[in-house]
Point group: C2
Chain length 355, copies 2
Amino acid sequence: MLLEKTVQTIGPLDREAMKNARRRVDSLIKPPGSLGRLEELAVQLAGIQGRTIPEYGSRAVILMAGDHGVVSEGVSAAPREITYQMLSAFTGGVAGISVLSRMAGADLVVVDVGVAVPVDIPGVLNHKVREGTGNITAGPAMSREEAVKALEAGIRVAADQIESGRRLLATGDMGIGNTTPSSAILAVLAGIPPEEATGRGTMVNDRVLERKVWAVKEAIRVNRPDPGDGIDVVSKVGGLEIAGLAGVILGAASRRIPVVIDGFISTAAAMVACAIKKEAREFIIPSHLSGERGHAYMLEHLGLKPLLHLDMRLGEGTGAVLAMGIVEAACRIMKEMASFEQAGLSDLDEEKLQK
Amino acid sequence: MLLEKTVQTIGPLDREAMKNARRRVDSLIKPPGSLGRLEELAVQLAGIQGRTIPEYGSRAVILMAGDHGVVSEGVSAAPREITYQMLSAFTGGVAGISVLSRMAGADLVVVDVGVAVPVDIPGVLNHKVREGTGNITAGPAMSREEAVKALEAGIRVAADQIESGRRLLATGDMGIGNTTPSSAILAVLAGIPPEEATGRGTMVNDRVLERKVWAVKEAIRVNRPDPGDGIDVVSKVGGLEIAGLAGVILGAASRRIPVVIDGFISTAAAMVACAIKKEAREFIIPSHLSGERGHAYMLEHLGLKPLLHLDMRLGEGTGAVLAMGIVEAACRIMKEMASFEQAGLSDLDEEKLQK
């Protein structure tokens, strides 16, 4: 019910606000187009918010954590326990995302949507749907009902954040083994061969990489996910934190709040969200190009171009919060730069100049 | 004398500090290498500063302004007067760089090193060497003595900033027509055909582009700059603000302060600085990939990889200040993230994990 209602609420961008924003951006004291992606972002944000001069404001990164049954197939170099262990590092302020979100002025919201063990850590929100997914090489990751629950957990967390005043959200993930289901999602939704969709994730050697490719193929063979049904895909070959993050994206879009996505896992979630409701794409802001090989395919499939090229592949939302500064910059040029008229400068009239 | 002394002071990075920084970065709670370019930056900054954990601190962007005689050849769509007119916008806080440097927490230092008219604007530093360059299609941009003066102006401004406490500098430019001399510098120093080195700059149509290519060829034919002599190149086919910015880079390097370079013009200045003293390169941090076509060649020639892909081509230092946040992030992960030992986490020992 909540999922259905949320999806129905997602509408197109405000074209009138975008037209006005384009006019404003072209009036600023700079050659037309010379602020490149900042200009495009400003216009997109205007369309999302329905105002000529978009606002930046209170912001948060929502980090969803979950475990993966497929880890038992030897697809990960790191032990499953790390997922749980990192939760205290997140809330303790000493993990990568803790440091970078603090720098970005973003609150870090840590959510357990499917960690394999009981979690009782102050500051970690409990939205656990189940203790880890099933082994996707042998059956579905979760039932369809569980996938909907995870999606709705994401919608709820996003809604809570927005109601408490956030005007910009970002997504982050934690889940040992989650590049394997993300590769499976990419392979299914973009129709890319598993060999192309699967990369090394974290410190994976050739033998483990082969194992991952096998696992992705087997997951698709065994579960036969329907590429026309995003919920089916994420429930059969996905993950709980991936479904949760897809919910965050849908929840943000339904309330017309821009959402910055992180790397490989977050973009898999974005693919799921857009497979459920394609209009969600217009509310998404890409951040970095991950070092994980399949990420470029994902962004291409969604028609998104990364802002940062930092060869990062940590996840947690680290790339997304770094891009929040770019989003703020896009809003600030609209608000704080003068127009040629305001500054009393010679007009850089394009027609005049091209003669 | 000042130039010579400065150049002699530029030494190699501190390899011991870099080794210690690499050890620290590998001990942090993340898979080795997963913070990508942030890790490389942290190690570079450690080598520049000679300390394991690099510091970020007070910062400034130095914007050098100058005019170009070659504008009389019709190589620019915008009128020369814009160079002067923009100075008040910079100091008035309403130009692109004013807004973005404010956001980055960087002071904006505006320097007249060669504007074609007398400048009496509060807040603009006067280091004028001459009122605009000569027309490079007919003779040298300036004399060798003037080029040295402009370089030394940059060294002085950088030194003043560093003495007043800056720990991070960035470069920016203003000068109608300055993509033409920058293309000439690229063509000469990287040995690239003028047709490849020359792009559209600001709003240039096909006819003006042809004119620019002609001007670059003619400037090289008439002046015969020596690719082995950076001062010769910048004096014959360069610009006053370009020489000034090369001086800023040399001045920063001699005092072991990292300097973030902006786009096409600033990178032309970096090429000049490195042609004068190749060790200066290690103190340079690239920022964005400009929309101007020759910029990728410049970065490749210097062996630098851009951090931001924003299709910007405004100059002024706008891309450089946006990247200052990335530099701060690199310092912060070193200082604020915990090591596996500190956090009491299972070690992600690479050898163990690869077995």
